[in-house]
Each structure stands twice: as structure tokens, then as C-alpha cells.
Amino acid sequence: MDTFMLSRLQFAANISFHILFPTITIALCWFLVFFRLRHDATRGTPAAAGWEQAYYFWTKVFALTFAMGVVSGITMSFQFGTNWPGFMEHAGNIAGPLLGYEVLSAFFLEATFLGIMLFGRGRVSDRVHLVATLMVAFGTTLSAFWILSLNSWMQTPAGYEIIDGKFHAVDWLAIVFNPSFPYRLGHKLLASALTAGFLIAGVSAWQLLKGTATEGTRKALRTAITAVALVIPLQIFMGDLHGLNTLQHQPAKIAAIEGIWHTEKGAPLTLFGWPNEKESRTDYALQIPKGASLILAHDADAELKGLNEFPGAHPPVAPVFWGFRVMVGLGLLMLAVAWVAAWVLYRRRAHDLATLPRPLLYTLVGMAFSGWVATLAGWYVTEIGRQPYLVYGLFRTADAVAPHAPAMVAGTLAAYLTVYVLLLTAYVGVIKYMAEHSTLPLPAVAPPAPAQAS
């Protein structure tokens, strides 16, 4: 393999590993805020202890996940320079401030207040602690805002002019709120809610199965199932809007997703098949006649552009085609599981969650990390779907890569992959261990002494 391909793989490995953790923490932090507020609201009643247990357990998971996100995020900030210097040299005037605002306004909010949120018990007042928790939640969401703004700008660039091959900013509002940004941000935040929700539900189900459930487990499970059952239809709707937006701005990506090789009227919807890029056709295709035209243009006879319209400027078909089907398939599965679980849960409003049907609990355990798979599949659709461009239609990925020796890039890639596999194993293992040995929170301590200099 050449340096270009190896560098792309390395970037994909780093960003895939990184995105796993923010995808959990963005929404998990709002779940924690909710647990915390419920605890405050039920103070003095038996329910308060349950909310505190839920808060306590998931704060530990949050701390672990956040640490994984921080360290893998540091790796990201170096990747641009070590492997893709051409990107910042050409697009730095626009990418720079967006990344800068992410670091300044968001990253610091998270990292600084995290210490107080995690370990502030007994050191600051309840009110300050709540503010710190809100700051962390707000910071993680703000991080997503800026990063997705830049990512969307790379997909649907706006508000720029090009002088001597370099991008210059003309209209910052148009840059930040570029055409695909609202859809992408909404899609990502909802994805985070689903990822965190299914993780909470899966781990809680495991605790019920293993007999380590507490009152907090039941509260967390109920919250998570309610959340995912409400969010999943929104997400499917948002995904559809995002797809229509993509059709408007990146028809080549849609052609690859749908496996439309030649421009045609009344294009069929391919459910499954084997994309054959050499022969420009989909082998063994299972198709619904006129389906794609109907879904994408809301007109059974509408013309859809095929890949033949974009010679040398369309993405590789197979990964985009398959990524999309994995994402959509998981989305539908989430819908089914979330609604069945919600139905079962609400029919048993009493406290006998221990008697939940075991097949349902095992299904929830199996879905614990389904958000990760769907998120990655979706990212591969949109990012591989942007190829061969880095800034869509304007700047090619191949023009940004640093000319390192292939062996060196292969060496670092192997090292990163090894570490990532080990850490993922450890992460999942530790969460499982924590679920099976859930401890109760320490009794609330006396009112904190004011901080004082010694």
C-alpha cells in the first residue's frame, strides 16, 4: 500500500476510535444531569437513594469514557500536522478558527469543570456542583457544534473565496451555518442520545440478569428506554432530511449509497446486492422498482443522477453502499427493540423489573454497543462518500498528504491499532466488571468546608 492509503487508514483508525467516546459522553452527561435533578426533586423520599445510585454508577462510566475521549482527542489534534499538512496550508484560514473555538469554548469547559463534577463531593456547595455538571454537559455539546460545523463545511463549503489556491473566509455566518450543518448536527446529537441510551439499557439489563441490580439500575433502565423510544423515530426522520440535503449538494454520494450506476428515470431502490465497480453494476440486486426515485424525489418517475455523471470524482461504491445499509438496518432494529421494551416496561409499572422477560434483557445486552456500530457505519457513509475530495468539489484528499515513507506510516498505524484494540477490550471489560460489582455510593458527607488556603 502507498503512503496515501496508509495515511487515510491511520486517520480513519484514529477518528473512529475517538468518536466512540464523545458519542457516549455528549448525551450521557445530560442523562447525569437528569439523574441529578431527579435526585434533588425527590430529596427526602425513598426514590432519592435510587437516583443517587444511578448518578453514582454512571458518573464512574462517564469519567472512564471521558478520559478515553480526551486522550484520543489529543491524538486527533496532531494528526492534521503529522499526516495532512496540506489541509491546514490550504484550508487553515477557515478550519483554524472553527477548531480554535472548539478548543477554547468547549474543551476547556469540559476538562476544567470535570474535576469538580467528578470529585467535588463535599468540597463545593450543591449549587456549584450542579453548575459544574451543567458546564460539562454544555461543553461537550458545544464541542460537537464546532467540530460538526467544520466537518459540514468540508462537505458543503460556503462563505469562502479562493485566492492563490488558499481558502479565505468571506462570510463567517455562512461558513458556520453551511447548508448541511443543521442536519448533520441534529443527526449526530440524536445518535449520541441513542448510543448512550442503549448503553445504559444494555448495562442495566446485564445487572438485572446477574443479580447486581440496585434501585438505581431500575431507574436508569426506565430513563434510558423512555429516551431511546422517543428519540429513535426523530432520528429516522432526521436521517431522511439529511439524505435529501445530501441529494441536493452531493449527488455522487447518493448515487453510491443507492448503487445507481447510470442516470435513469424511475430508478429502482436496491435493498441488497453486491456492488461491482469494475462492471458498473450491482450483482444479485434485490430491487423495488421506482423505489429510489419515489423516496428521494417523492416522484416515481423522477430522474436520478448516476455515478457515470462523475467520472473520477465519485467515492468508492462498496463501503458507502454497505455502510448505509448497516446504519439503516440498525436504526430499524433499534426502533423495534426500543418500542417493544418500552411497551413491556410500561405495562409493568410496578417495581417488579426483576421479572422482565429474559429474552428482552438479553436483547438489550446485545444492543448495548449498537449505537457505536451505527455511528461508525454512518460516518463511513458520509466521510468515504466525500472522497476523492477533502473539501467537497474543491480540494482533493491526495493533495494534502505528507510524503512520509510508507514503512513509517505502516509502523505507526500498526502501533495505534494494537493500542486501540487493547484499550477497547479493556474498556468493555471494565464496564462489565463495574456492572457486576456495582457498589453503593458513600453516604452523603457533612456540608463542605469553604475552600481555604493553607
Binding site: 464512574k60 491546514m88 476547556f108 470529585f119
Partner: protein, 336 residues
């Protein structure tokens, strides 16, 4: 005389911000990396106290590195590519070290007890590897990425120096944040790190002008030499202050243990300004000046507004956080 315009001033302002962010990083993450490297010398109970002493801080400490590298990336894209491409391997090694120590911090208390010793070792090894590669990167940067024997020797020299210097910061931190036997132990570790740090700093100071003609010409001319003399003299004074406090338990007991940390910080600050003076106006020595490397003025202005609003806030709540966790380290507990 040239008039001062935004196009000339903004790159300088951001150079200063980047430098200060990296200085803040070196001091702040320096002490927690130092504590990490000292971990193997402590008993199991002491290890928990040591990790507790840095627990609430390390996330934020490492974020200063992201800010420093972020400013390089955002404001000096040309230099960012040149510097990080040249440092490809050490950067990768440092990142792996940072990743391992960062996660080990959390895993060591959450994994099953049988694995705790392994995560402790990962934590210490990650801290050491991170420090070694940062030293190497600094050395390579000062020589302008010379690939000859002297350049390599110089970078190796700094790579071996930095662990002693970070360990001293860690010692200073532990003297402030712990008491009893661990505090006494920390002072002993400090005595062990003292002379290696002193000799290495002296060696670097003498070698820098020798490997770089540009640096030599900036220091060894009159009258600048006399104006600069306070820098090395203050370093020597700080060094002997550390030596005195470490050897005198009574001074520590009387509440002056913070002198070790403060004097080590002083050495870092002075070395930083010495280095800044040596390199200015270059961002990559002898190759790229601050202005050649800078982004378009309109982009710098946009990010400048954000910096002017957020940086003071960041500094204020960083101080607030240090006040909240002021005093001797206690066991860390999660909860409401």
C-alpha cells in the same frame, strides 16, 4: 519607522499565546507526569495518595497542550505542517504514551484489583515515554531539525534531561500535597533528581549556542550579554534554593515546602524566556519567521476575538478549581 499594523501585531500576539500555553502545559502536565514517573518508588497505599493528588487536574492540564498545538495549527498552519511532519515518530510515541497513561489513571481504580499493579506500571511507563519524547521533540526543534550526529546527540541529551526536571516538579507537588512519610520520601526522591537535573540544564545551556550559530550570535554580543546574565544567575539561585529545602526537613515542616515547586517553576519560566529570546523572530529556527507562517489576518482577527473573551475565563476558573482542591490530597470519591 515601520508602523504597527494588525498584520504585524496579530502573529506576534498569537506567538505569545502559543508560547504561554505551552509553558503552562510543561509546568502543569510536568508535575503530573513527574508524579507518574515517581509512582514505582512508592508503596501501594502511597500510590493511591499520589494519584489522588493529581486526579482532579490532569484532564485540564493536558488540555493546555491541545491549546498550544491548536494555536500552532490554527494561526501558523505552515509551521504546523513543517514541525509535525519533521517530528512524525516522536509525536506518535508521545501520543501513545499520553493515551496509555491517561486511560491507566481511570482503569487502575475501576478494573479488578488483580489488574491494578499492571495499570500502575502502564501509568508510570506512559508518563516516562511521554516525557522522553517531549524532550526529544524540544531538542530537535531547537536545532531546527538537524539530522546530523550533533543534532541527534543534542536531542538525546534533552530527552534524558526532561524526566529529571519533570520529576522535580512532581517532587515539589508531592511535598505540597502530602504529608508524613510520603512527604519525606518525596524530598529524598528530589535529592536524587537534583544533580542530574542541574548538570543536564547546564549542559543544555552551554550546548545550545554551540549547535546553533543563530543562538550564539544573539547571546554572545555586548551589551546584550550583560542584560541577559540575570537569567542564568537566577536559575543557579533557584537550584540552590531547591537543594537547601530538600535537605532541611525543618524548613518543610515549617510550611516552606512550596519553595521546591516554586523554584523549579522559576527555572522552567526562565529557560522558556531564554529559549524564546534565542529563537525570535523565527517560529522554525532559520527557516520560517512568525509572519511567514501566519494565517490570513482576517482569520487571526476572528479567532482573536474568541481568545480575548475565553482565555481570561479559562484562567479564572482554572484558579477556582485549584482553590477547590487546595490543601493536602484526600481520597477521591465520586458522587453527588
Amino acid at each position: 519607522m515601520e508602523t504597527l499594523t494588525w498584520a504585524t501585531a496579530l502573529p506576534l500576539i498569537f506567538m505569545a499565546i502559543m508560547g504561554l500555553a505551552l509553558l503552562a502545559y510543561v509546568i502543569l502536565d510536568g508535575y503530573d507526569l513527574g508524579v507518574g514517573m515517581l509512582l514505582p518508588f512508592a508503596t501501594d497505599a502511597e500510590k493511591d495518595v499520589m494519584v489522588s493528588s493529581i486526579g482532579p487536574f490532569w484532564d485540564a492540564n493536558e488540555t493546555w497542550l491541545v491549546l498550544g498545538i491548536g494555536v500552532l495549527l490554527i494561526c501558523f498552519p505552515m509551521a504546523h505542517g513543517m514541525v509535525l511532519s519533521a517530528l512524525y515518530l516522536p509525536v506518535a510515541v508521545m501520543l501513545l504514551g499520553l493515551v496509555l497513561r491517561g486511560v491507566a489513571f481511570d482503569f487502575r481504580v475501576k478494573a479488578r484489583d488483580a489488574h491494578k499493579a499492571t495499570w500502575n506500571r502502564v501509568f508510570a511507563a506512559g508518563s516516562l515515554v511521554t516525557t522522553l519524547s517531549q524532550g526529544w521533540m524540544l531538542g530537535a526543534y531547537i536545532t531546527g531539525f538537524q539530522r546530523d550526529l550533533w543534532g541527534m546527540l543534542f536531542a538525546t541529551g534533552i530527552a534524558l534531561t526532561l524526566p529529571a526536571a519533570y520529576a522535580m516538579l512532581g517532587v515539589g507537588w508531592l511535598i505540597m500535597k502530602t504529608d508524613g512519610e510520603l512527604q519525606r520520601k518525596a524530598a529524598r526522591w528530589g535529592q536524587g533528581a537534583l544533580w542530574p537535573m542541574g548538570f543536564a540544564l547546564m549542559g543544555i545551556s552551554l550546548a545550545t549556542p554551540l549547535v546553533s550559530r543563530t543562538v550564539f550570535d544573539k547571546w554572545f554580543v555586548l551589551p546584550e550579554l550583560f542584560a541577559l546574565l540575570p537569567i542564568p544567575l537566577a536559575c543557579v539561585a533557584a537550584f540552590f534554593a531547591i537543594r537547601h529545602v530538600l535537605a532541611a526537613p525543618r524548613v518543610v515542616a515549617a510550611g516552606y515546602g512550596w519553595i521546591v515547586f516554586a523554584a523549579t517553576v522559576l527555572i522552567f519560566v526562565l529557560a522558556f524566556f531564554g529559549l524564546a529570546y534565542s529563537i525570535y523572530p523565527y517560529i522554525v529556527i532559520d527557516r520560517l519567521t512568525v509572519w511567514e507562517a501566519a494565517s490570513a489576518t482576517e482569520s487571526l482577527a476572528v479567532i482573536g476575538v474568541g481568545v480575548a473573551i475565553t482565555l481570561p475565563a479559562i484562567i479564572l476558573y482554572t484558579i477556582f478549581m485549584y482553590r477547590v482542591f487546595w490543601g493536602k490530597a484526600r481520597e477521591l470519591t465520586y458522587g453527588l
